[in-house]
């Protein structure tokens, strides 16, 4: 089915029949097609009334959308899981940005007070080099909160594009893309990233790119499924009947209507991006010491678990609270959207 690629002026008769079969309102389709055609030709449509009517309908739809969005925000603010998650997440975001100017130095070493238990001077004790565990715990939020959101954003961007193209065009393009995705998913993500990072070297940018690439297949599957659910709807047909380009239909018609599943997928991926980034740091493929990164700290300090457990348990607690917070946000969003 390739007819939607045609960009000729008049609506395609086959497509019109298809629209009628799907129960689209034929008058509305004619109206939109006419309006689009005349807009393209740069003249006013013959029937000014009809155009006004259409504009009014558009305005009503926009108002309805706004109302729905307000309702969603209100529902989210009332969801306890969402709010608890959001508060914890915002706390870590705040600490990632400002902690270095609020706490003691997280790099200052003090050989005299190595592995000291929590005290008034060092709330959460000190590590093997006499550094303040509390300051390092707060500063450790930074690396993971830089890597995970950026990697998620990349995965959402690429995944949305691939999912839109595969789901909208279907056919051979879809088959090739989905086969490629199967191959990428044939290996566990941690193992593929170890393979990539051991060959291309470490560094924040490479970690972000790797996680972004490896999360793309899953996002594109979700987006593709959502696009397939939308592509036969009336408004997509109407846009195609107007003779809009495929890229316009995908980006301006379908995309706004599948934002909810994309947002939920985004928060799920964000949680896993934190998980993956921390795991890679723990395995030794992330940043190098003296970075206060949580995964790295747990890996380097775990030998002191028996004599100075605070060096390990506090960063572990921090990491756990962040992933659980993101999970709570996902849960709240999913519940609110599905209502």
């Amino acid at each position: 089915m390739d007819d939607h690629r045609q960009t000729s002026l008049g609506p395609d008769p086959d497509l019109r029949k298809e629209a009628a079969e799907l129960g689209a309102d034929p008058e509305m389709i004619e109206l939109r097609a006419e309006a689009a055609a005349s807009a393209r030709e740069g003249r006013l449509p013959a029937d000014q009334d009809r155009r006004d009517q259409e504009l009014q309908a558009d305005a009503a739809a926009a108002a309805e959308q706004k109302r729905q969005r307000r309702y969603l925000v209100k529902a989210l603010l009332r969801s306890p899981t969402f709010m608890i998650g959001l508060i914890i997440l915002l706390f870590w975001v705040f600490m990632a940005i400002f902690s270095t100017s609020l706490t003691q130095s997280y790099t200052a070493q003090d050989a005299m007070s190595s592995l000291k238990p929590p005290s008034a001077a060092h709330w959460f004790g000190t590590d093997d080099l006499g550094r303040d565990v509390f300051a390092r715990m707060m500063a450790g939020a930074r690396t993971v909160l830089v890597i995970a959101p950026l990697a998620t954003a990349l995965a959402l961007l690429w995944g949305s594009i691939i999912g839109l193209v595969a789901g909208f065009w279907r056919g051979l393009t879809d088959d090739i893309i989905m086969r490629g995705i199967d191959v990428l998913l044939a290996l566990p993500i941690i193992i593929t990233s170890i393979l990539i990072l051991s060959l291309f070297g470490k560094g924040t940018a490479i970690i972000i790119l790797t996680i972004g690439i490896l999360f793309t297949p899953v996002v594109s599957r979700t987006v593709r499924a959502a696009v397939i659910g939308e592509r036969e709807r009336e408004y997509v047909l109407a846009a195609r009947l107007r003779g809009e380009r495929s890229s316009f239909v995908m980006a301006r018609e379908i995309l706004p209507n599948i934002m909810q599943p994309i947002i939920v997928e985004g928060t799920v991926r964000l949680g896993y991006a934190v998980f993956t980034a921390a795991t890679l740091a723990f395995l030794g493929f992330g940043l190098a010491p003296p970075s206060p990164d949580w995964g790295l700290t747990i890996a380097t300090q775990r030998v002191f678990l028996q004599i100075a457990p605070w060096t390990v348990l506090f960063p572990a607690l921090a990491l756990a609270s962040l992933v659980v917070a993101i999970n709570l946000i996902t849960d709240g969003l999913g519940r609110t959207f599905s209502k």
Binding site: I196, S198, I298
Partner: protein, 316 residues
């Protein structure tokens, strides 16, 4: 049924070839410099590098090298470790059996625990208990296994001293002692899977409970336990088994982390060591083996699903 298995096995071959090309390409094409240079380091002459390249066959065209590598893998010649100068296969296989024991033990714990939790939550749908089970088991799933691992190590090995700190018993210990040492490493792996499998079991239970035949079973006076064990459990198993198969990848990834945390000599730790030391033959062989195991695990999950669901079995 046999046709289903045969077809799936045939489908595995092209995917496996593509995966092996991917691994080989990543390992050999994108690495800057030649194989010989990466082994000998920067302080030898170009001639010596050439000599080693010739001896290793690294000067041959890329396609020939891929075919000889892939052929070697199939026939059991997996090459020599670049770092340890010993054949790769015994090294990888020994680590593999260690991992299999740990993963198998973890699966034995995961499946009944998560199904019980999921069915329990599903039977009391939307209650406080249901919400608690769902949210806490999902939270367990998203917490990285090394985080839950260190906390468990601290609580059970350091503080309460109920379980050993190490994962490997002294040499010559009987089998049950080995399992006793594996309890602590297996629990983080269990947490990793718990949320998903419990969620699927819950969804399966909720769906089955809404079926007319359950109402029939209840109305004809079957005791609740018979309804749950005879009808609900069997049918809730189908989505559960499916998701267990799809979670094997996470389990393999989890092994990498848990083995490093507990210093357990499995294939995950071997892979990390090979990757950090740039031991390409060792890395390639272990990753490819994991890919094969992963696909076989998915196949087994499909077969079990088919066995549980007669409609797929007949249609296949």
């Amino acid at each position: 049924m046999l046709r289903l298995i045969g077809r799936r096995l045939l489908l595995m071959i092209p995917t496996l070839i593509l995966v092996s090309i991917l691994i080989f390409a990543l390992a050999e094409v994108f690495v800057p410099g030649s194989v010989g240079r990466s082994i000998l380091g920067p302080y030898v002459t170009e001639e010596q590098v050439q000599l080693l390249n010739e001896r290793l066959g690294a000067d041959r065209p890329i396609v020939v090298r891929y075919l000889s590598w892939a052929g070697g893998f199939v026939t059991g010649d997996w090459g020599d470790s670049a770092l340890l100068k010993v054949p790769v296969r015994p090294l990888v296989m020994e680590a593999f059996w260690h991992s299999l024991l740990l993963a198998g033990f973890a699966l034995v714990l995961i499946v009944p625990a998560s199904i019980a939790l999921g069915v329990f939550a599903g039977l009391r749908r939307d209650s406080v208990l249901d919400r608690t089970i769902t949210v806490s088991s999902l939270s367990m799933t998203v917490i990285p296994e090394f985080v839950s691992g260190v906390v468990l190590l601290y609580v059970f090995a350091v503080w309460l001293k109920w379980l050993p700190v190490t994962a490997l018993p002294p040499d010559g210990s009987p089998f049950y002692t080995r399992l006793y040492y594996l309890i602590l490493p297996a629990i983080p792996l269990m947490f990793l899977e718990l949320g998903y499998i419990a969620r699927m079991a819950r969804v399966g239970t909720v769906q089955v409970l809404s079926m007319p035949y359950i109402r029939t079973a209840v109305l004809k006076g079957l005791p609740r336990s018979r309804v749950v064990f005879g009808h609900v459990l069997r049918n809730a198993m189908v989505p559960t088994v499916t998701v267990i198969g799809s979670q094997v990848g996470w389990l393999l990834g989890g092994l990498v982390v848990v083995e490093k945390l507990f210093n357990y000599p499995g294939i995950g730790r071997l892979m990390v060591e090979a990757a950090l030391a740039h031991d390409i033959p060792l890395l390639e062989a272990s990753v490819l083996l994991v890919a094969v195991v992963y696909m076989i695990a998915n196949l087994i999950a499909d077969i079990v699903v088919a066995l549980l669901n007669p409609r797929i079995r007949m249609g296949g």
